[in-house]
């Protein structure tokens, strides 16, 4: 299981980074959400893997998965959602302005 999770994290990270290195905003954004999946899983995995041990207090429970990383990952998911929303809209705005959705820009145009 660990191998699967670790490799999945790796592949998602790689795919995310590769997309971030593309020239247009949309792939960059998709890459970012890919990256956030990867890191959320990583964060979650920092509590190690457990099957059938949901951290719901219960006398019958044999043991619990580490709840803290889950809570942290939860926070991370929400935050990255907010971030994604913002960058999507900024990219949209930039495109609507200039009719150009390239991420690279010419520094000399600054006022």
């Amino acid at each position: 299981m660990e191998v699967l999770v670790a490799s999945a994290i790796g592949v998602m990270t790689a795919s995310g980074i590769y997309l971030m290195l593309r020239m247009r905003t949309f792939p960059v954004i998709v890459g970012l959400s890919m990256l956030s999946y990867a890191v959320n899983v990583f964060l979650f995995a920092s509590g190690r893997l457990a099957v059938g041990m949901a951290p719901i207090i219960d006398k019958a429970a044999v043991g619990y998965a580490d709840p803290l990383p889950q809570a942290l990952a939860l926070t991370a998911i929400v935050i990255s959602f907010g971030m994604t929303a913002v960058i999507v809209m900024m990219a949209l705005g930039a495109y609507l302005h200039g009719g150009d959705d390239h991420v690279d820009m010419d520094a000399e145009e600054d006022r």
Partner: protein, 505 residues
């Protein structure tokens, strides 16, 4: 327990939503409430600074959970200093934004501004690593909003770059935090310090990775080469007052490095040793070079100011990298100075660019209103940032040079050489913008109607006055900072205060 400790976070966090809820259609009300809370913050942070100056660090146990299980805020001298610096800068910048009408060029300026301040204060006060991440995100997302305030194609595109680059930083932060937790089982900084010291050798490698990844996160914030690329475009395209406020954002990176690494990874830690210093110093020196070369090579005033900011971060990190009290004290003095100086330069540049229509440093140049006064102010800001007498920049530079004797020849030549390039750059820029323009028409006839904007100029003068005060009171200030630095490096007081209730676990 002293509830005032959390006020710098809660106050803006309550006023901002109130503005959104009740007065989002009335700019005047927004200004009044925004200013009121900024003033309150200055008073408050002053009081906190005072109380922090005497006695040990004060701890605030959120939710009344004992550390390290809940989140704690810690008010020590450093945190109090940063909060006070932020509050003062925020008030001044807000005055400027109102005085120039920047805050009217888009929606929600004041709410975002307050949230930004809240994020900064949270980052300075928290004693919990993950909570630090959360506040980083708060201040970042607020800064995204402020950076694109006023809109415009170029600004939005620069904004996209800013966000994208910092999202990588946020992601990296999470990787680092997860690894820290996986290895040490804690998120509380003080607890982390205790555990790192006793870490079994077998875990050293992973902890080192975690530490370095986190260092890179802070390096992105602090615009340390090779992670500085986001800064020039962002600052050059951000609204003037926002760029001025951002002068303290880069300092968050430096603060975090001082806080986390002086506390949890002192250079005598078996697992990490001088790893972080070894990475920081070279990067800092290159940063100075890149920044000062940029000051000479920049195409516009705003970019020049941005590069000056980068160079100053280089000097700051060079001092931080020594990780010993004298250098840290010097770093803190330079931190205060470069925050004020960077802010004032951005405000002056904004005033000039606004009157001149552009900030180009090449090609034709025309005279503009109030160029005499603005020239004087530009000179002052340039003198401060280049670190030439008589302003605090020189004292800061002396303190840093005096503290860095390790590789004296290299470090000194880089720092002094950097100042030289900056002097050249500012002299060229100044004579192009303020002198050459006079060649076209005689001085007496002002090209356009005067626009006094008293509030804006008052803000600029206030920052200048701050620099003067920092210079004149250099003695007491650096004495205070010496004690602060001592406290940061012998960590027992901090750890003891935070872990006082650990037994309850």
């Amino acid at each position: 327990m002293n509830h005032w400790i959390i006020a710098p976070i809660v106050l803006p966090a309550m006023v901002a939503p109130l503005i959104v809820l009740a007065m989002r259609h009335d700019l005047m009300l927004q200004r009044v409430f925004g200013l009121a809370s900024s003033v309150a913050m200055v008073v408050l942070s002053g009081a906190l600074l005072w109380s922090a100056s005497f006695g040990p660090p004060q701890v605030y146990f959120l939710g009344d959970w004992p550390a390290p299980f809940g989140i704690v805020l810690v008010l020590d001298r450093l945190a109090a200093l940063m909060v006070a610096l932020t509050s003062v800068l925020a008030l001044v910048v807000q005055l400027y934004a109102i005085g120039t009408g920047w805050d009217a060029r888009g929606k929600h300026f004041h709410a975002l501004f307050l949230f930004q301040v809240m994020g900064l204060n949270g980052a300075f006060l928290t004693g919990d690593a993950f909570n630090l991440f959360v506040f980083f995100e708060v201040l970042l997302i607020a800064s995204y909003g402020l950076m694109i305030h006023g809109g415009g194609g170029q600004r939005l595109r620069a904004g996209v770059q800013y966000v994208a680059f910092n999202l990588i930083g946020s992601t990296l932060f999470l990787f680092a935090l997860a690894t820290v937790y996986a290895v040490t089982g804690t998120l509380n900084m003080a607890d982390l310090a205790v555990r790192v010291a006793e870490l079994p050798p077998g875990d050293a490698a992973l902890l080192r990775v975690a530490g370095v990844l986190m260092l890179m996160v802070f390096a992105i914030k602090g615009a340390l080469v090779p992670l500085q690329f986001w800064l020039p475009g962002t600052y050059a395209n951000a609204p003037g007052p926002v760029a001025a406020l951002f002068a303290v954002m880069t300092k968050v990176g430096a603060y975090a490095v001082i806080r986390v690494y002086a506390l949890a990874f002192p250079t005598d830690t078996p697992a990490t040793g001088t790893l972080f210093a070894d990475l920081l110093l070279p990067a800092a020196l290159v940063t100075i070079a890149v920044g000062s070369v940029g000051v000479l090579g920049a195409a516009t005033l705003a970019r020049q100011a941005a590069f000056a900011g980068i160079a100053s971060m280089g000097v700051l990190f060079a001092a931080v990298a020594a990780f010993e009290p004298q250098a840290t004290s010097a770093a803190l003095y330079y931190l205060i100075h470069s925050t004020l100086a960077g802010a004032v330069l951005f405000l002056v540049v904004d005033l000039v660019t606004d009157r001149r229509g552009n900030g180009a440093l090449r090609g034709p140049t025309m005279p503009f209103a109030q160029s005499g006064l603005l020239a004087a102010l530009f000179l002052g800001a340039a003198v401060a940032l280049a670190g030439t007498p008589p302003l605090s920049g020189f004292i800061g530079k002396l303190l840093v040079l005096d503290a860095l004797r390790a590789d004296l020849t290299l470090v000194w030549s880089v720092i002094l050489g950097g100042s030289f390039l900056m002097i050249l750059g500012f002299a060229r820029a100044g004579s192009h913008v303020f002198w050459k323009s006079q060649a076209t028409v005689p001085d007496d006839q002002a090209p356009e109607a005067q626009r006094p904007e008293p509030l804006a100029f008052a803000a600029v003068f206030a920052l200048m006055a701050g620099l003067v005060v920092l210079t004149v009171l250099g003695g007491p200030v650096s004495a205070w900072l010496d004690t602060t630095a001592q406290g940061l490096h012998d960590r027992d007081a901090y750890i003891g205060a935070v872990m006082a209730r650990a037994g309850e676990g």
